[in-house]
Amino acid sequence: MDTVYMLLTGFISVVLINNLVFTKFLGICPYIGVSGRIDMAFGMGLAVTFVMTLSGTLTWMIDHWLLIPLGLEVARYVAFIMVIAAAVQLVEMYVKRFFPSLYESFGIFLPLITTNCAILGLCLFLVIWGVGSLIEAVVLSFGGGIGFTIAICIMAGIRENLRMVDVPEALQGAPITLITAGLLALAFMGFAGMI
């Protein structure tokens, strides 16, 4: 029961309270770039969630079972980036095979998940937070992806409605998006201290 409770709090924490986008400001590039339409944003969120879960779990395993016993913590960054790159390649092949239209609408942003700092950030946060068990690593990495999906979908929903709004000329495009992102981040501050 204790484990389940801990996993649940960890999950809620990483989705809402320590949301990678809103509190750590990681993964802003796809967050701004692919949040034009909800369906695309959701697809991007799912792809990132998949890569995050896969690479978070794999990096935790490599870190705990290989690097720490051998005292090779310095090699963390290199190993983690390699895992992420391989996972993204895998996702790219999968999406190209089974969702060709999604693949075309992603364009350059799909390979760019490789350099999505939210993913490397999460892998490193798992180390910083001192995650002790594999199941916890899986849940937290999955939660990080869900948090990203929620963030990008909220943003896409707002931006779809923003299109019908009379935005001052100087603020059209990127500026109003960044202001929206800032206000959203402020709103998510309300979750701080919930757990």
Partner: protein, 295 residues
């Protein structure tokens, strides 16, 4: 001694780290290799070839969002061959060669012509339109200008043109044929269906630049340069025909000839004009005949 020992220990770690990275790299490489084989997407090599034969303008004239979309579609459905207006017969022939097809009909490239030659001073207005500055909105207003057929001059075609080949010159849409690719975007944009496609067999083509179906008297009343359907051109040359008070050039019969030149010169309103990249300026209309006594 101390230094040597630390160097050796660092080297020992480096070798270990290198080995581990090598092992991890190999493992992932094998994984990706298997995935690549299992998830391979068969790509038709003809798509690339057809795409290379297209003009890469992504103008959308074919009805597909871009050239790559059309390339895929034309391979699946060869009936779409020739759908690329900017590419014209060259692109169609190239695609036909790739797909091992024969182009059935080949003609001169089609270019749009604005079937109106009246600039603002030559038209009649009953009032002043101050609504949304777009043709489609202005066209919804009855009597926005006296001529129900002529160019409105609010530039819907100009905004539709991706190649900045259209401009509004004193209230008349004018085409720059050096830039025009024949993508037909303007033809679709015009709410009055005023822009027609003409086969440009020669550099400059003769057209009757009017669309008015009103009878001669009415057309005269509101436009100095409209076609009045008098039939003088028909008497000069076979290539002309008058139907519904409007003369038209039959391009199947049209050749630059002396007869056509006479028709051009005899036209009382000067509505027969040349259109093309090096076309001469339209003729001035002849003086209006003295008004006859009203009944």
């Amino acid at each position: 001694m101390m230094i040597l020992a630390s160097v050796v220990s660092v080297l020992g770690y480096a070798v270990l780290a290198g080995l581990i990275m090598l092992g991890l790299g190999t493992a992932f490489a094998v994984l990706l290799l298997i995935a690549n084989e299992k998830l391979k997407v068969p790509v038709d090599p003809r798509v690339e070839e057809v795409y290379a034969a297209l003009p890469h303008l992504d103008c959308g004239a074919c009805g597909y969002p871009g050239c790559s979309g059309y390339a895929k579609a034309v391979i699946e459905n060869p009936e779409l061959l020739g759908g690329c207006a900017p590419g014209g017969p060259e692109a169609a022939n190239a695609i036909a060669a790739i797909l091992n097809l024969q182009v059935s009909k080949e003609g001169p490239p089609l270019r749009p012509v604005v079937m109106c030659r009246a600039h603002k001073p030559e038209r009649t207005y009953y009032g002043q339109y101050q609504g949304i500055p777009s043709c489609i909105a202005a066209n919804a207003v009855a009597n926005v200008q006296a001529c129900k057929f002529g160019c409105l001059g609010y530039g819907d075609c100009m905004r539709a043109c991706k190649f900045s080949a259209m401009r509004i010159e004193n209230g008349l849409a004018t085409i720059d044929y050096t830039k025009c690719t024949g993508c037909t975007a303007c033809v679709k944009a015009c709410p009055r269906n005023l822009i027609k496609l003409v086969p440009f067999a020669h550099e400059n083509m003769m057209v009757v630049a009017c669309n008015s179906l009103e009878n001669g008297k009415s057309t005269r009343a509101f436009c100095q340069v409209g076609c009045i359907g008098c039939g003088l051109c028909v008497k000069q040359s076979d290539a002309f025909a008058v139907e519904d008070n409007l003369a038209r050039v039959d391009y199947a019969k049209y050749e630059p000839s002396g007869q056509n030149e006479t028709a051009y010169n005899k036209c009382p309103t000067g509505v027969i004009v040349y259109r093309g990249p090096t076309a001469q300026a339209p003729r001035e209309p002849k003086a209006k005949p003295a008004p006859t006594a009203k009944a």
